[in-house]
Each structure stands twice: as structure tokens, then as C-alpha cells.
Subunit: 223 residues, 4 copies
Amino acid sequence: MATLYNRLAGHDVGRLAALSDGVFAFAMTLLILDIRVPDIGAVHNERDLWLAVLALGPRFLTWLLSVLTLGIFWVGQQTQLNHFARADRDLAWINIAFLATIAVLPFSTALLAEFITYRTAMGLYWLNILALGIEIAASWTYAVRKGLIKHDAPQGIERAMYARVFIAQALYAAGAALCFISTYWSIAFIIAVQLNYAIAPGWSFWRKRFGGVRTASPPRAER
Amino acid sequence: MATLYNRLAGHDVGRLAALSDGVFAFAMTLLILDIRVPDIGAVHNERDLWLAVLALGPRFLTWLLSVLTLGIFWVGQQTQLNHFARADRDLAWINIAFLATIAVLPFSTALLAEFITYRTAMGLYWLNILALGIEIAASWTYAVRKGLIKHDAPQGIERAMYARVFIAQALYAAGAALCFISTYWSIAFIIAVQLNYAIAPGWSFWRKRFGGVRTASPPRAER
Amino acid sequence: MATLYNRLAGHDVGRLAALSDGVFAFAMTLLILDIRVPDIGAVHNERDLWLAVLALGPRFLTWLLSVLTLGIFWVGQQTQLNHFARADRDLAWINIAFLATIAVLPFSTALLAEFITYRTAMGLYWLNILALGIEIAASWTYAVRKGLIKHDAPQGIERAMYARVFIAQALYAAGAALCFISTYWSIAFIIAVQLNYAIAPGWSFWRKRFGGVRTASPPRAER
Amino acid sequence: MATLYNRLAGHDVGRLAALSDGVFAFAMTLLILDIRVPDIGAVHNERDLWLAVLALGPRFLTWLLSVLTLGIFWVGQQTQLNHFARADRDLAWINIAFLATIAVLPFSTALLAEFITYRTAMGLYWLNILALGIEIAASWTYAVRKGLIKHDAPQGIERAMYARVFIAQALYAAGAALCFISTYWSIAFIIAVQLNYAIAPGWSFWRKRFGGVRTASPPRAER
């Protein structure tokens, strides 16, 4: 009977997506709670307030880092789920582990923000990203092997998925290794990699829009 | 292979909507956490409690301001998403940036609540609103140029969207500029603009309902 | 052009439902944050811990009160939304006001928990419930008058909705008035009314199940 | 008229699922808030930080316990909801009670983390799990008796559901009873049971993948 339950449990990709959106949305919003409003006792004029806000700079840096991390893994997991024809119990649990690791990110971020010059904090942050990469690769591997991928998924998607994860993780590892020079180098490198990932594909669009000549307005999408 | 990933990533408008609803819902609920229950040590009778609650007035003012801001941008983004036939990776990232800026609003609100007489706090709050306006305009521009808009979107919708954003942002900028007289003027002006936006279209409905004569009951909606 | 925007904005009942579920879910989870774990310094043995947990009793009382309040208004709003064929901009704003009032409930609850013997705290809690009742009635009135109700809504639904809201609000007002005797009477009365609302319809089911004889197993639902 | 309202209220399984996903997502994310970043004043070098993070070990243990608990009940409730053809008002309320009990879990977890050697804390945690088991069994019993199950649910599903809940609860009770030896035994036993539940069905898959020979690539899923 336990077998029957296992066969029935966790089939709904939509529910998995909804749980994921909730966890990502909450994690993204929680990050800001770590940036505290300056203490009113120490602020006596506009200039004090400016300086107090500027002093929050490192925290906004780690905030930006984690928002980008969340965005990248949200886009990645969404792309996966879109190609799943269905889920099963084990796939659901791989994704629960993934979401639990996402839920740890606000902690890793707070630790890095508080101890921004410590290699230990940078190393733990990197372990968090590494765990996310392993889980998302495991989710894909499992779904491919179990035949849970949609019939109409394009050719080459399997390798494209792995390539994406492995290249990104190699860059994160390189960035993390920079902490032996300075943790700021690590953070700057990883943010640069992530911004490149997030912005690069759209860059030519905006450059054309503001710097070039349009020749024809593009067609509207067919529904 | 990275190109294939880029072509496949971020296509699902529904997931974008779900993530957005999550972020807006948490941001709206987080705002209240900034309003602390009065300290029990300072309250000895009913009158003390009344005064302590009344002293929270300015915080409820900034709370109202931010609830209205969230409502306006939620309605605006929802209207956009409803007219997208599909999304792509870049559109997803523009909207992630928009949501990250929404997630900053509880911080800006707390800063303004704590430093309500400081022009710096008002200016930063305005920058938050300005960033939201730029991002929502960028999202629309991108979708129009890339042909992601639904085929059946009504004529004139493109200009209506821009007009809405530009008029609103002009009013917000005017309101923020009032902080050189007093930040309370800024807040009052922006709340008035937002209430006008939120309530005005429905005003005639309620005036008729409570102050006038009904002539015929309206038809039920065809499905 | 503003008119065109107004005609297009806020049409999606599904998004309204998703935002609502987010706000309700977060409010329900936030309530527990108000119940703090006992201070470890004051606990030296198992008995101390038992007493410390028992001392949290009044906070669990206000927690139960607010969970029931949230449940009742969630069921009420869901029933409304299920019968809306579509929404419009004004209906969206009425519901945003409703959700903002829901988001205030954790504050009202914390205030009542901290000042459980104060009529002022009870009165403000009641005002919160009253505002929710007014907003949910306004939402229904607006939708009915504007013809946004589904064609296939059953006869008599309009009056049933009003009757539900008015009877409940009358009972809440009566409960709140009991605070002139004791706020505990108010809380007990309102919890009793709410439990009656939540449990009563199902009571006969469970009594039959555990206390009586079953005669035939009921048919499965046709899809 | 109240009867009409009762007949109409709470019918939407989709809304119930969305509310559930919200509550589970927040509860999962809230758990991490209980793990505080070490105090910067007590950390002077990398080694101090390592030791301070290691000292958080017991809190990560209770965190893991509760993430597994949430995952198990999320999968369980999702499996139920997937087989409901529709809901009604009473079923909605049983599930609201279930979700309120889920929302208490971060409190029970924090209590256990703070008082990890106290049988009282372990006992209260177990009561929380027991209440979840009772509520999920009540939800299933009610739906079966009222004929709310989908027509195409497989034979034997009713007994499989009960078997799952009763076996799991028996193991939880056994684990909780171990607290009379040591609460750490209780926690370790329950985590082992839960990990077995979560991982065991997929274990053979991963063993084959990394330790064995693949013979043929499996077919893709038919849509």
C-alpha cells in the first residue's frame, strides 16, 4: 500500500511551481529585513542621515548579490519545470531540498553581510550556491532518466541545461577562490558574472533602442 | 548551447505573475511589522493606551502611502502581464528587477517613518518610486518592441500605458519636490494623488448609490 | 487615454485571488511570530518550562481568535471571487483595501495580546473586523451593480451574501460591547460565534461518524 | 439563507491549494529566521567564526527536522487535494485548521531549538505533528464520506492514505517516546524516519546512476 501512495504522491508540477514561487518571493523579501534603518539617536541632521545610509553600502552589496542569485535560480528552475510533463514523488523531494536550500540563502547573506571580510563567510555562501547547483542538476538528471520531460522539448535541451549549470558553477567557484585575495574581489566577481548573465542577452536590444536607428516595427505575437 | 538556454528560459507569464503576487503580498504584509505595539511599561490606563496608539499616527501615514504605492504598481504590472502573449528571458529579468525594487519598499518606508522630517528620507523614497516607474516602462517598451503583446490588445494601448506612467511620475516628482517646503507636504500630496488615482474612477458609482436615484438594475455579465 | 487604461486595468480575477491567498497565508503565519519562545534564563527545569508555556495561554487565545477571523474572511472573499465573471479597476481597489485591512490584523492581534484587559485594544480589534465587513460588503455591492457576477450564480445569492455579513457583524458588535463587562467575555463570545460558524455545519457529520450507524457509503462525485 | 451561503462557500480546491502553498512556503522560510547570525562582538578571527557557526549545529538539526516535517505534510496534503473533485465549506475549514497547525510549527521548532534537552519541548513538538496527522486524516475521511473524491481515483487509494498516516504517526510516537532516554535520540530517530520516507524510494535510482551500468535510455513521457 505504501507503494500505491508513492505512485500517487507529488505528481502536480503546478503545485511545485506555486510552492517555489512562494519560497522565492519570501526569500527575496526577507533579504531586505537584514538592512536595518539607521539608529535615530545617532542622526542629528540631513548629512548624518546621508552618511548613515551610505554606511549601509556593504549590506546593499550582499543584498544585490543574493537578489541576483535568487533570480538566476528562479529562472533556471522555472525553465526546468516548464519542460516537465509531470512530476513524481522523488522529483518533488529533490525540489523540496532545492527550496529548503533557497530558504537558507537569507541566512548565508546575513552572515556574509555581517562578516564581509571573512573567508569563512564567503566560503559558506559559496557552499550554498554549490548546493543549489547540485540540486538543480539532480532534478534535471532525475527527470530526464525517468522520462518526465515533455515530448515537444527541443533537441539539445538536455545538454544545454547541463552546460548552463556547469559553466555557472565553474565561474562561482573561481569567484569564491578569489576570497584568498579579498572577499570583496569574490563578491565583485560573482556579481559581475551574474549581471552578465542577467543583462547581456538584452544589452543589444537596449543599445539599439537608445543608440541606433529603428527600421521597422516588429510584428505582434501570434497568440 | 547557451543560446538555446536563453531561447527557452523565462517564457512563462503565469509564473512571473505568481512570483509577483507573492512579492507584493509579502511586501504589503511586511509593512505592518514596522508599526510596533506600544511598550506595556509606559501604559497604565486606557487613556495612556489611546495616546500611545495615536502617537503611531505618522507610521500609519507612511504605511498608507506605501500600501497605495504597492496597489498602484500591482494594478499597473498586472495590466501589463495580462496583455503579454508570452515572456522571454530578458522580460523575466526586467520584471525580477522590478520585484526586487518592490521588495526594497518596506525599507524605504521604514526609513521615511523613522526620519519623517528629513528630506533625505523623502528623496530616497521618491527614488524608489522613480525606479519602479522606469522598470515598468522598460518592461512595456521591451515587450512592445519584441512583439510579445497579445494580438487582440486594443488600439491605443501602447500610448495609454506610457501616458499613465509619465503623468504619474511627473506628479510624484512634483510631490517629492514639495519636501523643500516640508516633507509632510510631500507625503500629503503624493497620498492625495494616489487616492485620486485609486478612488476617483469609482467615486461616481458610490455617489449614485448612496446619494441618488437608481433607474434600472444593470444586466448581469455574459460569461 | 487615462480612460482606456482604466478600462483595461485590474480585470483578472485570478490575479486578485493569488494576491489574496498570499496576503492571507502570510498574515496567518505572521501571527505566530507574536508568540515568543520563553526566555531560557528563567527556565531551570521541566516544570519551569511547562509553566512558561502555560503563561503564553492568553497569546494563544488571541492567536486562535485571529486565525478564526482570517479563516472566516478568506472563505467569505473566496466565495465572492468564485462568483465574479470578471473584475475591473474599482473592484480591484476595493479588494486591495480589503487585503490591506487583513494585513493590519497581525498588529491588532499583537495589541490585543499585549493589552488584553484594555477596552481600547478590544475596540480597535473590533474596528478592524468592522472595516473588513464593510469592505467585503462594498465589494459585493459594487460587483452586483456593475453586472460583474457570473450568469449562472444561483437565485438568492445576493441576499444570502448580505445576510451573512450583517448577521456576523451584529454578533461581532455584540461581542465587542461585552468588553464593558470584561474583555475576556468579548474574546470568548467572539471565538464562540466564530467556532460555531466554522464547525457547526460539519458537526452532524462527525457526530454520525463516531456516534451512530452508517447505512450506506455515499456515491463518489461525478467529475 | 445561511444554508445557501454554506452550500456555496469554499468550493474551490485551487484556492485551497494556493493558500496551502503560501502557508508552507512562509513556514519553510520563517524557520531560518530562528537561526541568528553570530554576534560580531564575539568573533575576532576566522577560527572564531567557524566555531560560532558550528555552535549553531543544534539549531540546524531542528531546522532539518522541521523542513522534513513540512515536506512530508506538503506532499501528503497535495496528494489528497489532487484527488478531490471539489471542496465544500467544511472541508475548507478542516484544511484551514491544518494550515493553522502548520503555521504553529515554526514556534514549536524554536521552542525545541532553545530547549533541546527538555522533554516538555519534545512533547509539544510531537503534539504539533500529531495534530497535523489527525487533521489530514480528518480531511480524507470527510472527503471520502461526502463523495468529494474524483471518479477516476485508483482502487485502494482510501486504505493507502490511512495506512500512510497511521504508520507514520506510530513511528513519530515511538520517536517521541525515546525522549525519556534522551531528546537527541528522539530527534535523530524522527529525522531518520523522515529521511527514509523522503529518500528511500529514490535511492535505487541514484545508486544505479552512479554505481551501475545503464542499459538503455528511457522513453520520453507522452504528454
